[in-house]
Symmetry: C2
Subunit: 451 residues, 2 copies
């Protein structure tokens, strides 16, 4: 299948992790430990047994631009999902939907998918951009402002946050702050609510409505250390913690050109904050694709699903299917690097400790994706392959520069500010036309029989 | 009064005009010629006559932060305006209100000022941010999208624009574009209106409501050359013309910290456009303080007012009172530079032509503000002095760095992207506590008797 490993020339521009993101990786590693404890790993005694007819791979599907565009089903999606379920409509392999959408609840997304794909999808198979916030318990007892649309307060409470403040609550407590809309300016002088608690962190779930209101109130909080009625002598820096879910600059709906995503809102927030203070806005965490924490959580869901179905073999390979090189492809490749790096570290640690590493050493030298078994007692997958489809943000018809070097400088970087260029990370393992071709490819790779 | 010429240490960071702004100056000069023809200059035969009891100076008042904060009158304002009118309530000197606000009509602003100042203000004394658009006739017959809030379409039509498209009209014609708000997404597939005309220019009047909608649709127009239903192969650059009124990043309302102005919206637009295309957004014109075109137009209004009152002497000195160093002070100083540079050019041109320039030469060497008469037949003022008040955006209590050099690097530049640093331009001619002190100062400078 080497021919299928198409070079992804048009996205030679890639990114490397910034020092800030490396700090986030520290958190990722802590989370990974938590995942391992949450999801009981397969017993080591099973490692050499055969798991015939049981999947040893899992699928991560992006939704927008892969399965649907807006509310419209992409035709190939229905075809592909027929292959994923048995006669009873039950999934034959672990499938998790990993979307950067965040302005909703998993149940609603599962119902929408069930309806359009005509396959029963449970909410446990759905991961939204903000899902990993469950693991960031250090913020759960703080007064947090939540920004987004839809039931963001309810979502935050469901994730474990105990003291949730909405933009509307802040507007009511401080009626002099939100005055861009002339019709919303207070008609009379209303004193601010003096008892309103200090806001200790800001959580950006997704793109809000009336960006001017959210931008103004969030910047006010950052400038006043969480007390927006106070005058500003010298803005504190670093500011109060900001956590953001979903960095997608754009996404593909029904329109012919991509639509603004939460990443566009973040660009506005970062730019205004910098213009006013001269400092860079800092994120305590960036969650959602392409962040490691998101793929780590997705893998946890895959393993939990396999376990609940009684598939006791290890999940050795993940396949991530998406339409956005800067989110889906970069994220899958970054996670793949992380998995492989962790494997190498464990081998080295064992060798240093003088333990027998014959088996692991042999595995580490074999081609990626061909290896079996687990390394160093970890139940993580060994690889995460990225598959780019052409039904969304990315189009195969985009102009390619004749000189590959040109593409590095000429392409525009649509990833988040805190992710740096690394050409190899936006190069997909495979490029296919649509999700149906992607499933065919995976089944061929895995020698998995079609129904 | 030399002691009053306080050094404005806290704003040592200033700006110089960018090459782009210099191009705008070409337009300014063309406009100036038009102004001269619009407003018939004083007859040269009058130049040596005396104009006793007639003012030879004019006052330009900023509104927000000088006279009012939000809807609340600043107490000093009423006191100062008592001094400007005679017993019949008529102004004794030419007074023009130069505000960067733009989401309204002059009549409404005049009525508000009349009410709070208890002085009859006519709409001819009020200049809004967009007022100079009247002079940019080359856009009046184009299909223009107007962005702002309030009656922007009506304002544009009143300024001379014949084919005005609003954001609402664009949303209706292209229902798939504005989808950030989930509740505004179309429930059914609606084909775009094929007969909708190409948008040929975008005019940004002031900060809109629902920034996400305006940002999305404006960026769509820039990416698609004015046809937002079309797919984007390669975005055109330069894009269709963008004209922006009011660059104020922030303004001072009732809240203790400044509120977002139209400049904050422009920061968002510029940042998203650059993030998506890699190119800088370009403005065909930037109108409102501190642009030259605005002060040129304000001077025209001063002269027209003097003429209508029968004050036949030339207006030799302008005084601009404001609270915003980056708008009011920079703009007045920039205009002052321009006036003096024009004077020098005319003297040089006359000397080259061998004409007698004795009188003009003597004037050019005399201290600014002390000279009389007109130069080279121009009826422009000779100087424009800037007076900073401490009742708005600027506070005298801001921390001053001990080393003056520090202020250059440490202060944050709140001016527009297209205006560069020049420390001398944000240094006010005078710093006073409030507008009442400003009027006292001017009257003393001009030996003008108090009532």
């Amino acid at each position: 299948m080497a021919a299928l490993r198409t070079r992804f020339n048009s996205f030679k521009t890639g990114w490397q992790q910034s020092p800030h993101l490396l700090a986030l990786n520290g958190r990722f590693n802590a989370c990974r430990q938590r995942c391992i404890s949450l999801s009981k790993c397969g017993n080591n005694n099973n490692r050499n047994s055969l798991f015939k007819n049981q999947p040893t791979f899992g699928l991560l599907f992006d939704i927008d631009g892969v399965l649907v565009r807006g509310r419209t089903l992409i035709p190939a999606a229905k075809e592909s999902f027929k292959k994923l379920v048995d006669r009873n409509g039950e999934f034959q392999v672990p499938v998790v939907f990993v979307t950067n959408a965040g302005n909703g609840v998993r149940q609603a997304k599962a119902e929408l998918l069930s309806q359009v794909l005509e396959v029963e999808v449970s909410q446990d198979q759905v991961m939204l951009s903000h899902s990993p916030l469950r693991m960031l318990t250090q913020y759960h007892n703080k007064n947090v402002l939540v920004s987004g649309q839809g039931p963001v307060a309810e979502i935050a409470q469901n994730m474990g946050f105990q003291h949730v403040v909405t933009i509307e609550m802040l507007r009511e407590a401080y009626p002099l702050l939100d005055v861009v809309d002339q019709n919303r300016r207070p008609k009379e002088q209303i004193p601010p609510d003096k008892d309103f608690p200090r806001i200790e962190a800001v959580i950006l779930f997704g793109e809000p409505i009336r960006w001017e209101t959210n931008l103004q109130l969030i910047v006010d909080l950052l400038l006043t250390n969480g007390y927006p009625a106070n005058p500003v002598m010298s803005p504190p820096y670093p500011h109060i913690p900001v956590l953001a879910c979903n960095m997608d600059l754009m996404w593909m709906a029904e329109a012919k050109i991509p639509r603004f995503g939460h990443g566009s809102f973040l660009v506005c927030l970062e730019s205004i904050y910098k213009k006013i203070t001269g400092n860079e806005l800092k994120y305590e965490a960036l969650i959602g694709k392409p962040s490691l924490i998101t793929y780590n959580y997705a893998e946890l869901l895959v393993r939990q699903q396999a376990k609940s179905r009684g598939w006791s073999g290890p999940i050795r390979r993940l396949y991530a299917i998406g339409d956005n090189p800067m989110a889906d492809i970069y994220g899958a490749n970054l996670y793949n690097h992380s998995l492989q790096s962790a494997q190498r570290s464990r081998v080295q640690a064992k060798m240093k400790a003088g333990q027998v590493v014959e088996e692991e050493g042999a595995e580490a030298g074999s081609p990626a994706g061909e290896r079996g078994g687990k390394l160093g007692g970890s139940c993580h997958a060994e690889s995460c392959r990225s598959i780019l489809v052409c039904t969304g943000v990315y189009s195969r018809h985009e102009e390619l520069p004749s000189d590959p070097h040109e593409s590095v400088t000429q392409r525009v970087f649509h990833g988040h500010r805190d992710f740096r260029f690394d050409p190899s990370l936006v190069e997909a393992s495979y490029v296919v036309q649509d999700v149906n071709e992607a499933v065919d490819l995976i089944f061929t790779q895995e020698n998995w029989p079609l129904n």
